[in-house]
Assembly symmetry: C2
Homo-oligomer: 565 residues x 2
């Protein structure tokens, strides 16, 4: 059987647009000779409409969109789409997360997702009732084991948060299926490509069964779906593979398979592609902006952000603004101008001196007798924020914010200042990875698009004379290692000290700083997610809270010593 | 049996502080002669530590805190606390949401929550595995039907999002319990007091059984828990009632009950108390600020916010800043100064003219040839934001933002301008309710604390000459009615038109404006929640999305007409 993998890029909630594109892709698949075309999870609504699922009109409109697709698909091809369907039972959540097999002139065949992820970025128990049973689907003489995303992720070693009692794959296999087909909405994160390969190969080899994975592609607010759709043969070898980070239609013939070499994915290259794609899709799908603004400081974060934006949108759609203050070094301005020249973008110079002085005068009465400090530093950062946002409002361009994950973790950023923007490009990228990205970009271009001085100078916010990041923060390699243990691996002080050998007081201080700055991140723009644990909807932490981890550890030690003595 | 209701106000994640206060309250209850003291749901950790539940150290520390409480409670009294416990099964979520009965010298008795709310503000399926069974607890010859919060809310008429198949109350009653005891963390919303009375009375009358409800009190970031703990007799009548919005310990004697008159709750009075309590608890629990700053515009929102802050924190801890521009009327400044005098607060006057002019000069090159508009208006709002935040940084005070729910819904607010702040006091209060609050405040004071001109003048952002809110927005009573249907009742255009009789285009335009402004609300400060559906963690909407509700409705109509013709 010839099966087409429709690695589709829907826009969230754009039911008509998604329905029309589904029909187009189905027609293309039919033209290619496919008997079956498989779309990703929730392909009709995108991932995810979130609480639009609670809107009765939206659910009704979705049902209509599926019906409309059914009426318009070409004859002779099965079209497997993802959509919510109503739960007919009197109890439980109102919807199921379903795969629906549509074929012209036939009744739709519906199967439900059994394992509903409710952790990290996933809220599926919020909307969906799990499948009570997994039923194989007979289609043109082939018995298909259709299931949805998480249904294949029931392996203890990948179950960070919990394990599931049921195994939908095993339940399908026990019904004598010929082929497993997974409709996914599985977002990109470092290493995810390799993990998918590993899991699917293992499933194929366990059951001697080919496996078709069709994953969503596209960026939706924070989430970047990479596609990475593929077919593995019964021996676990890859037989077909879609390109990452783009819409694609790939044909696989079960009767004439050929083995592909496993393609290599590289961390910096994946990261680069994910971010470029994330920027492009955000701008295209919102449709509210054609161009973006980046405040250029001469530092590496803004340089990398601007470069990614150019590669996403074209140089003509990226505008740099450099906003020097009295603390900006001549080098910083020069580096920004060199970068703009390298990228071929317009760069405006708008000094903040007058605005900062005006605030100084205006506040001189109120601040009389106080010492210069954070307040004055933040006035600079916020004056830059006002200038960027004024240009955004005036010309209808979107501001990209440039802070990285290390800074966002530590609160080393100014709310309403450099944190201003519609999209935070690097807020899930540790500083160490920002350096790797810069080097990757220059290597790819075979020239220093990002100026060497920008990469080589010591990072500085330049808000006071001779300021360096390392005056306030540990060296970035140390900081990033500790942050990664805390945020991505959810380790606490003792485990981190044991693993990294760093000073317990240093580790404790970093963890406390991360906790203390939840209030800042609460008001940050959405950040492109590229790790397994990003700030944003996937990491929900209390703001008003007092986790005295040091006090309670001490008390536990005292208590246990008291018990022993 | 004498039972004490410990309407406790824990701080989220403050395990030691909460454990110590638990022991203090248990001692007080013992001194009052109680044999059993009941604490609210998750009393040891507060509601909710959110993803701290994913931190193994936090779980271990919680277990220690419970053990510490057990070691320190007085003899002869049972102490029923709420805490997470580990799920011993190999499958499912790692934790249960548990009630634990502690008694000196006895093994703890643990029972788990069966119905886990996962909708609106609740994410319990994210962390907890539901109870497999509900077991009655025998204590001093009485059989207790202990259950947790949602376990009592399984009535079809209160199941907006879904219904549950199991009924924990019925399962407990079938085991011959003498008494139902509910540990709750049920937040305040308009009408919640009456709903609780209705549900509990119904349960009591159905099963001829007394019912003890102990609900959390305290404000944690967005959520305000009102307490409202009570005991209903087997006839459904209220026999004991704790005061709302304060910590309390109330004794009830099952052998000597007396019926209380049902107390009256009034919408404006509840709202006033909730917001005052919400401000106070935010400031006390964060511990980072003693004082708050409010930008006073002469308008009703800032006047009500400042008054609530004074009533929460005392006049000495509230500082007003009035920041007139060339578009501010003399009346606005005078009204702010009158308000400050009425409230007895300091009010600084910091004109924004110099800063606005400086930005004008600085941006004159970039903006050459453009017309004045939103960009220039927002520079004013953002200059005020900078001044407030500069004062915040300089003196260590927190900024309260003042926007109401109607404005936040429509995006009628400036990001990084008037939306700046650590806590949004009125962002879940429709403009119509802000007026009611102002009148309530003046009635309570028997004088116009909030100046009459502030209440009576037409609302205006004063960002351009003679600007009025109603130039851009429908009249507030109309707007609020439509917004309430959309946001709180999750109705869509057709239903709203049918219910309210307003023009479909007006309704459509308002719903689209709400959708379009998700990006602004994403970056808003946390807002005190007082309704059943507030912006914030309880309403999760996509930002990058395209819900063409009008197009799809039209297409549905055409399609159905085509089918019929």
């Amino acid at each position: 059987m010839k099966i087409a993998l429709a690695q589709f890029n829907p826009t969230v909630a754009d039911l008509l647009g998604n329905a029309r594109r589904t029909v187009e892709l189905a027609q293309e698949a039919a033209n290619m000779g496919a008997e079956l075309v498989v779309f990703p999870e929730l392909s009709i609504v995108g991932y995810s409409p979130h609480d639009l699922f609670d809107n009765a009109h939206f659910v009704e409109a979705t049902e209509f969109a599926v019906r409309w697709v059914h009426e318009h698909i070409p004859e002779g091809i099965g079209v497997l789409v993802g959509a919510p369907v109503r739960n007919p039972q009197p109890h439980g959540k109102r919807l199921h997360n379903a795969a629906i097999l549509l074929e012209s002139g036939c009744e739709p065949v519906v199967t439900h997702k059994m394992l509903l992820p409710t952790y990290d970025i996933y809220d599926e128990d919020r909307y969906f009732e799990p499948a009570g049973e997994q039923l194989a689907i007979d289609f043109h003489g082939v018995r298909l084991g259709v299931h949805i995303c998480e249904d294949m992720w029931n392996l203890a070693e990948f179950s960070t948060y919990h394990t599931y009692e049921r195994d939908p794959i095993a339940e399908l296999v026990s019904q004598g299926v010929d082929l497993l087909i997974n409709l996914s909405a599985s977002p990109f994160a470092h290493g995810r490509h390799e993990t998918r390969t590993e899991i699917i190969s293992q499933i194929c080899k366990t059951y001697h069964m080919p496996f078709v994975l069709v994953n969503l592609v596209g960026a939706n607010t924070e989430l970047i779906f990479d596609g990475d759709s593929r077919v593995h043969g019964a021996d676990g070898q890859i037989q077909a593979m879609a390109p990452s980070f783009e819409e694609a239609l790939v044909l696989w013939d079960s009767d004439d398979p050929s083995t592909l070499a496993t393609d290599e994915h590289d961390r910096a290259s994946d990261l680069y592609q994910a971010l470029v794609f994330g920027i492009r899709d955000y701008v295209e799908k919102t449709g509210a902006f054609e161009r973006v603004l980046v405040g250029l400081s001469g530092g590496i974060d803004s340089a990398v952000t601007a470069t990614l934006a150019v590669d996403a949108l074209g140089a003509e759609n990226v505008i740099g603004i450099t906003m020097p203050s009295v603390y900006s070094t001549a080098g910083s301005v020069d580096d920004s101008l060199t970068l703009a020249e390298n990228l071929g973008i317009i760069c405006h110079t708008v000094p903040i001196l007058d605005a900062v002085n005006a605030f100084g005068t205006t506040l001189s009465g109120l601040f009389d007798g106080t010492r210069e400090g954070i307040a004055e530093e933040n006035i600079q950062a916020r004056s830059r924020g006002i200038i960027l946002m004024a240009a955004s409002n005036k010309f209808g361009h979107m501001v990209l914010s440039t802070g990285n994950k290390s800074e966002m973790a530590m609160g080393y950023a100014t709310l309403y200042g450099d944190m201003s923007g519609g999209l935070a490009v690097l807020a899930d990228v540790f500083k160490s990875d920002v350096y790797s990205l810069a080097e990757y970009i220059n290597t790819l271009a075979k020239t220093d698009r990002i100026p060497r001085p920008t990469i080589e100078k010591a990072p500085s916010a330049e808000l006071r004379p001779n300021q360096k990041d390392e005056d306030s923060l540990p060296p970035y390699p140390v900081l990033d290692e500790i942050l990664c243990c805390y945020i991505e691996s959810r380790m606490d002080v003792d485990d981190i000290v044991r693993k990294t050998g760093h000073d317990p007081l240093l580790v404790q201080g970093i963890l406390d700083a991360v906790d203390r700055n939840e209030y800042k991140r609460k008001q940050a723009p959405p950040a492109l997610r590229v790790s397994d644990k990003a700030f944003g909807i996937g990491r929900r932490m209390p703001i008003v809270a007092r986790y005295g981890r040091n006090d309670i550890r001490k008390m536990m030690e005292d208590f246990h010593q008291g018990m022993e003595s």
